[in-house]
Symmetry: C2
Subunit: 256 residues, 2 copies
């Protein structure tokens, strides 16, 4: 399932290559290898020197490629971070297969998905705390709510779509489209908590994931009460209206 | 009502003295004047030079007091920020009197309270964005969720308590104790949004305040449905369990 995901190493250690794409050939082409090398070198330098202090020149030099070559793959440091988001999202999609393929209980599915995210993000915990100030601004391209983050965000939301659709929980038709986004938003709340969590092995974040999943499950089961649906819709509308990339993503989905 | 609140000046401009305490004598004693002078000098330097780069020595020098004297009033830079929080809270308590004394509609009261906060915070907008990275960590003494911020937080929550109690909205007894905290938490969501809001005069934050107040009012009116109450309690419990200062504050209130 998790082919080539060699990521359980501490910060600063070279990260294993990640090839979770559905490629027929086990060996990635040369260009993909170079791309991965640059991305991993960048992540290592971000962790060692800090995001702000790491230049594209330093990344290229450390990776042993020309600066022009580095810019060919990632036209800015921001694009490197998007590459990092895409990679986390891809690893996560692979890691949640066991629970999504076997469990039908909504709470179990959601807990599994949230804990898998914490597992995958663990090596980047130190980096996340110092990186946070660049990503907290919803207008920043590095924000999970930015238009630039749409592919990674959309991938993450689609995981929640599957959490819901594969469960035996009954969800009103009119909420099927918006609940996954709200579940992803609460995941972002968990991520924010985790960024600052100093408990050993992020134990508190793991407990929050479990408690949050239980709460979401209760909320979903209450959605059978018709009187509540306008409120759920209003909450969703509030978020999509006020978070930069969300409105665009919602209308793009409608067009599809 | 807003005696001595001379705060509508841009960042970097010396701020008027703020005496919103219920003091019989219009003129503050010397020690209070010195305290205010140090606090205002600190805020000006934080805005001009940034929080991290401003030392207590520089604040004392600029205020024309000895370093020892500055430390007598504020034992650290963090205490200065707490002083700033207390001051914002005091100004806010004064500014909301007109709406809380005359309106009984919950949405009107809450909108008034949130917009008043945005008005009062406006001069500090620039400072807030650069200061944010110090306050985002819930474990930091500067976080609104820290034990150190309890007095300012408690003052802010008590405003929401009055928003609710003075309205004609019917609230179930079992929710009276927790709704004000949840309303304050949603205010913190608004503050987070405002920190990064770049629209002119924070127009988007103002619209979010109005929309949020409407949503909260709907939520409160739904609380008459008994089936929802466990969910409200669970949400509240989640926040108080996982935010550092909230649990202590809750138990302290119980003791009173």
């Amino acid at each position: 399932m998790r082919r080539g995901v060699g990521v359980r190493c501490g910060p600063g250690v070279a990260l294993g290559s990640v090839l979770v794409k559905d490629e027929k050939d086990a060996k990635a082409p040369k260009s993909e290898q170079t791309r991965t090398l640059i991305l991993e070198t960048a992540l290592r330098l971000f962790q060692e020197r800090g995001y702000d202090k790491t230049t594209m020149r330093a990344i290229a030099q450390e990776a042993g490629v020309s600066v022009g070559n580095a810019y060919y793959y990632f036209s800015s440091k921001e694009h490197l971070v998007q590459g990092f988001y895409d990679r986390i999202a891809a690893e996560h999609r692979a890691a949640v297969r066991p629970v999504l393929d076997t469990e039908t209980d909504l709470e179990t599915r959601l807990t599994g998905v949230l804990l898998a995210w914490l597992d995958i993000a663990a090596p980047y915990h130190e980096f996340a705390a110092q990186f946070f100030k660049n990503a907290a601004d919803p207008e920043s391209p590095l924000s999970p709510f930015s238009p630039e983050s749409e592919p990674a965000r959309e991938a993450a939301i689609s995981v929640h779509r599957e959490v819901l659709s594969g469960s035996k929980a009954k969800v009103a038709d009119e909420l099927v489209g918006i609940l996954p986004e709200l579940m992803w938003l609460s995941q972002m709340g968990l991520v924010l908590y985790w960024v600052f969590d100093r408990s050993e092995n992020s134990a508190r974040s793991r407990r929050l994931a479990e408690r949050g999943a239980r709460l979401t499950t209760r909320g979903v089961s209450l959605s059978r009460f018709r009187v509540l649906r306008p409120l759920v819709r209003d909450v969703h509308e509030l978020f999509t209206d006020f978070l930069p990339g969300m409105a665009e993503a919602a209308s793009a989905r409608k067009r599809r």
